[in-house]
């Protein structure tokens, strides 16, 4: 069942993104930035956590999950260190994703040449 919810959730988020792209002058950059903010916002009330429970990997796929992971990393460290902890823990959960994206992008760039 989780597979179905994964499909529906990820599909719905992308659908909303497409509707915004088609009906406003916003660019892909605007929409992805907006979605990250939404992902972080929803976890003020633990809403995105419920989406992850419900849709599993499907909730981790859209860029909204990036916002969700950022705020969780920040809050987890804040348990121990208070407000300082927000900054200390910010990248804890996304570190591997960002590091991977940087390293992989670099090596792909070294190996390949841009085409049309």
């Amino acid at each position: 069942m989780t597979y179905l919810y994964a499909f529906l959730f990820a599909g719905a988020v992308c659908l909303i993104g497409q509707v915004i792209l088609d009906n406003t002058k916003l660019t892909p950059g605007h929409v992805t930035s907006l979605f990250v903010i939404v992902g972080a916002f929803l976890d003020i009330f633990n809403i995105y956590d419920k989406f992850v429970l419900w849709a599993g990997g499907g909730a981790l796929v859209p860029i909204t999950s990036f916002g969700h992971l950022l705020i969780h990393g920040a809050l987890d460290k804040a348990q121990e260190y208070g407000i300082m902890g927000l900054a200390m823990g910010m990248f804890d959960l996304t570190a591997s994703g960002i590091t991977a994206a940087i390293i992989i992008a670099f090596f792909i760039t070294l190996i390949f040449k841009p085409k049309n």
């Binding site: 659908l15 499907g58 981790l60 796929v61 991977a100 994206a101 940087i102 992989i104 841009p114």
Partner: protein, 146 residues
Amino acid sequence: MQQTKYCKLVNKYKPQEERLFNMAKAFLIGGVLGIIGHSLWQLYCVVLAMGEKEAAIVTTITLIFIASLLTGLGFFDSWVKFARAGLIIPITGFAHAMTSTALEHKQEGFVTGIGSNIFKLSGSVILYGVLSAYVFGLIRLLIFGG
């Protein structure tokens, strides 16, 4: 001619974008990516016996790797042109934005080309992600205490 009157003329001869088709594509392709994401997660948890959190990390890295590789191979851009939000909204969009920009500026050198441009498209996501996570985290700390 007045600007408003000219805008009306421009709109009269503007073609209709295939909105329904775009929405369908975004929903279906985004959904399929959701299934792929969940399948990978289950694969790593069950078959490779990783903890849930680890498996989630490796799932993300797998998707990032595939997107970057396909960008380097040169055909991911036509997939993105077709799928639109279906491939831009998922984490694949982030990896693809970084790789495509870095590739584009390869000729301008390691620092002034690749280094200066790799975050050109994705920088906005990182900036507003961190900013909002901090502000919302602060709000949560103050309201709920953590």
